[in-house]
């Protein structure tokens, strides 16, 4: 480290109460482009070249837009590329980037880089400004008669305030009101009912109990869902989705009260997680555990759907099953408790808890 006495000469007197006085702004040191005209000329050409490349890229963009079909693909770097969007992006992106790089290059190398100092002033008003302000406020208040007629301001404020009520009331039709009766028809009700056939989701194949193997998982829906359409269909599907599994009856626990809800180890549970309602079907056939991919709640389908891990708090609702005359799986009733996520008015006293009989 070179040490020159001159550096210790204060360049500007700073605040004296500091341990070390303010040396003032460092003197400006020239860049190579300041001192070398050839270099600055070269930099000048570089900046212009950067800007000049932009029109070339812009034209390339237009050509690609019209010339490259949007179905064109190419194998590159280990994957198949859809080349039209990529080339459009590369030309446009590079063009825009070069404008920026050119401008910065110009600013850094060619513009005067002497730092300058600007004074700050305290934000707060001076005493006289404050006094003038107070005077102005008082003059205005007096002109308006606020002091003398005390009700004016209060009644105006009240009048404006009360108009918020009509404004808010107009929002009451945002949606149906979830009264007890509405909830019974919506949140607490699904399409499942006595005798409704269990069909495979998507291909609507009805399930014969005899065809279901141990270790099999079926993503199922009620057969009557097919009669619904549009919003009604989606709303109902969000509640009726079912998972049917078959386990070795010797390897599962079936409580006394649910003995006749199953058909030879075939059990059906709601597919809608009791946490926030993701459809769950990550079923491990050996452990009988069912994992939700959203928040990893894990339910034991070999133990009436109790929670064994994760943030869910309630067992997965089980659907009572039976076999109809043709050997098809059908529901005995609707779910005995509301399916899906918890809501405040949900009566959760009837859910299955671990160890219930």
């Amino acid at each position: 480290m070179t040490h020159d006495q001159s550096t210790l000469t204060p360049r500007e007197q700073g605040e004296s109460d500091l341990p070390v006085s303010d040396p003032g702004i460092e003197p400006h040191v020239e860049r190579y482009t300041d001192s070398d005209p050839r270099l600055s000329q070269r930099t000048y050409h570089q900046v212009v070249a950067l800007f000049a490349a932009v029109p070339v890229l812009a034209i390339a963009f237009v050509v690609i837009y019209f010339a490259v079909p949007h179905t064109a693909t190419a194998e590159l770097l280990g994957q198949r590329w859809s080349i039209q969007p990529t080339l459009l992006g590369l030309t446009a992106g590079l063009g825009v980037l070069l404008i920026g790089i050119g401008a910065i290059h110009w600013a850094r190398q060619l513009m005067n880089d002497t730092e300058i100092s600007e004074e700050r002033h305290p934000v707060a008003s001076t005493a006289s400004e404050k006094a003038e302000f107070v005077a102005a406020v008082n003059a205005g208040a007096s002109d308006a008669g606020i002091k003398r007629r005390g009700m004016l301001l209060g009644s105006l404020g009240g009048a404006i305030g009360i108009m918020a009520v009509p404004a808010l009331v107009t929002l009451a039709d945002l949606g149906p009101w979830p009264t007890a009766a509405t909830r019974k028809e919506t949140l607490e009700h699904t399409l499942w009912a006595d005798g409704v056939r269990v069909v495979n989701d998507t291909n609507w194949i009805p399930l014969k109990a005899a065809d279901i193997e141990i270790g099999q998982l079926v993503n199922a829906e009620p057969e009557n869902l097919r009669d619904l359409h549009g919003t009604e269909y989606q709303n109902m599907k969000a509640k009726t989705a079912l998972i049917v599994v078959r386990m070795d009856p010797n390897s599962i626990k079936v409580p006394e009260s649910r003995r006749d809800w199953q058909v030879g180890g075939i059990l059906a549970y709601s597919k809608i997680c009791t946490h926030v309602g993701c459809p769950i079907s990550l079923w491990e056939q050996q452990t009988h555990h069912l994992l939700c991919p959203c928040h990893q709640s894990t339910f034991d389908l070999g133990d009436s759907g109790v929670v064994v891990f994760g943030p869910a708090a309630r067992s997965l609702p089980q659907l009572p099953l039976k076999v109809d005359a043709q050997g098809y799986l059908v529901a005995q009733s609707d779910f005995t408790v509301p399916v899906g996520p918890s809501f405040f008015e949900r009566d959760s006293r009837n859910d299955y808890k671990k160890g219930d009989r």
Partner: protein, 571 residues
């Protein structure tokens, strides 16, 4: 901060450019004059054109956010031309074969149309999504810079509050945005939103029915989110960003400490031309990088997820990164629920979702006021703190980042499990403890590091920098001489404020009468104040510097011996 010793004897210059260059503007005439007569542009411009902006790379983080927002507006307009915010079901017959013939909502169909049948549509969609990711990320790092340097202190608390509102609103803007395409992933996100709203005690069911116009999913939510995403929230954001920038200009930018930088000035480059070129150029760089990201990195391939179907789900269902910490909190939360009478209280969702976000944003908003109450510091601050000079603040900041980061990891616990061959359950259990212990450890370590750095600074000011030369003295001992610091560096290392902790004031006088004292300090506040700044290392005083210099000068360890008179340092 160490800067090579400056040598030039020149005094610092206020700008001295000769005005009479060729082609220079000589009068305010023509169109400029026309404008001036209507707007007074010359009056405004004379101050604004040479307004000074300090230069530091971290001051550009907020600009990244601003420019990303502009890119979001530009690309967003393009997307609205084709997107149809409707949940009406139609059959797809566009050019993406793997979905042909399926029933889907118009929202999803128009997203596919935009992606596969509008030239440049997919590119713009990808730029828009990357810009959203970058917007949130840039806001976050910008906020961290503001926090760690104490830039939120008086008089900038209001701008900090605006920033906190911007941050939280932008999160909702992003959430409503990625819900729009109505693909399987966005629908899964909406399902989560529904569950999260339902979990709010007492009013949850009502709010959910009002937001979704009835049961989930209904037929209204896409149109409603669309309105929020393209009108309501951007309008508020735009207004708040305007206010944010106006306050920035009004207060003038903060600056890092250094020679010539004081609380009473701002040192840097003038608005015109340097700052204008740099800021303008940076806009194009941000825009260019975003376009290149959109061109080379695919994002949110909605066609893989398929149309939303409430009975389907995909592994790896996650929200965009800025909701990831909330997602993580929800994932690692144990299944706590109370069933009181015929009611259900879902603590397992309400606490990690609504309550956590409420606490997080409220703490951010209150912090400047809490800190100033703890330290008793009511002065204006325009010089930034070096993070080491506020060890407790820096420690708290790193603790907060640790907390956030661990929750983040929780949001990706399944990806972490599969890619690092760990057990999903073990990752979750680890995080359940780590989110509480990690921040404490991070706080302690960070505070220690800051204090060590303060100590090192103090050593450096008193004894100079290590020269790297080993000298053997006549009596055989080895030592390393120290080189004295430059005046610039010595000033930079000592200019900050040392906070003396507040002491508890007696609340009764000697006669046992309660004193009415507006500046009274309670015992609690005094203890907090000691915790906050009680450990700070003292800044060397003038006397100590002089003493050390004298000691150093008479010591053979000094590199240049008696030729040095550091007493001049504090002339």
């Amino acid at each position: 901060m160490a800067r090579p010793a400056a040598i030039s004897p020149e005094a610092p210059l206020l700008d001295t450019q000769s005005p009479a260059e060729e082609g220079a503007v000589t009068t305010v005439g023509g169109p400029l004059g026309w404008l001036d007569e209507r707007l007074g542009v010359a009056k405004i411009g004379k101050a604004a054109l040479r307004k000074v902006f300090p230069d530091h790379w971290s001051f550009l983080l907020g600009e990244i956010a601003l420019y990303s927002f502009i890119v979001l507006l530009l690309t967003g307009i393009f997307l609205t031309i084709w997107f149809k915010p409707s949940m009406a079901e139609i059959e797809y017959d566009g050019s993406y074969q793997l979905l042909r013939g399926l029933q889907m909502s118009q929202a999803f169909e128009s997203t596919l149309h935009l992606s596969f049948d509008v030239r440049g549509g997919l590119l713009v969609r990808q730029i828009h999504h990357w810009a959203a990711i970058l917007f949130m990320a840039a806001m976050t790092v910008h906020m961290l810079r503001i926090f760690f340097t104490g830039a939120y202190r008086k008089p900038r608390e209001l701008n900090w509050l605006i920033g906190v509102v911007l941050l939280s609103l932008s999160m909702i803007a992003g959430m409503t945005g990625y819900s729009l395409p109505d693909d399987l992933l966005s629908g899964t996100g909406l399902r989560f939103t529904e569950g999260a709203i339902l979990s709010v005690p007492v009013v949850g069911t009502w709010v959910q029915f009002f937001v979704f116009a009835g049961e989930y999913p209904g037929d209204a939510i896409i149109a409603r989110f669309y309105m929020a995403h393209i009108l309501l929230i951007p309008a508020i954001l735009l207004a708040l960003i305007g206010a944010h920038m106006a306050l920035l200009v009004y207060h003038k930018h903060t600056q890092f400490p250094g020679p010539g930088r004081t609380e009473k000035n701002v040192v840097g480059y003038p608005m015109f031309p340097v700052y204008m070129a740099k800021a303008g150029g940076f806009f194009f760089i941000v825009f260019g990088v975003l376009i290149l990201m959109g061109a080379t990195m695919s994002i949110n391939q909605v066609w893989l997820y398929g149309p939303y179907n409430p009975a389907q789900v995909t592994a790896g269902s996650q929200p965009d990164w800025y909701m990831g910490w909330v997602e993580g909190a929800v994932r690692i939360m144990p299944g706590l629920e109370s069933h009181w009478g015929p009611t259900t209280w879902s603590w397992n969702i309400f606490l990690p979702f609504a309550v956590l976000m409420g606490i997080f944003y409220t703490s951010l908003a209150l912090w400047p006021f809490v800190e100033s109450w703890i330290t008793g510091d009511k002065r204006e601050h325009h010089l930034l703190d070096r993070p080491r000079n506020a060890p407790t603040r820096t420690g708290l900041g790193v603790a907060g980042m640790t907390f956030y980061g661990l929750l983040w990891a929780g949001g990706g616990n399944d990806i972490i499990a599969t890619h690092f061959h760990l057990s999903l359950n073990a990752v979750t259990w680890f995080l359940r403890f780590a989110v509480f212990l990690g921040p404490i450890v991070a706080f302690i370590i960070t505070k220690r590091i800051c204090l060590s750095l303060q100590r090192a600074d103090r050593e450096r000011v008193l004894h100079g920098s290590e020269s790297g030369t080993i000298v053997q003295s006549p009596d055989g001992g080895f030592s390393e001489p120290h080189a004295p610091l430059s005046h610039d560096e010595a000033y930079t290392l000592t200019q900050h404020t040392h906070h003396t902790p507040l002491e508890e004031t007696a609340d009764v006088d000697e006669h046992g009468v309660r004193i009415k004292n507006p500046d009274a300090v309670s015992g609690f506040r005094a203890r907090l104040s000691h915790w906050y700044s009680g450990d700070d290392i003292a800044i060397p005083t003038k006397a100590e510097i002089a003493d050390a210099a004298h000691h150093g000068a008479s010591d053979e360890n000094s590199l240049e011996g008696s030729s040095e008179d550091p007493a001049q340092l504090h002339s």
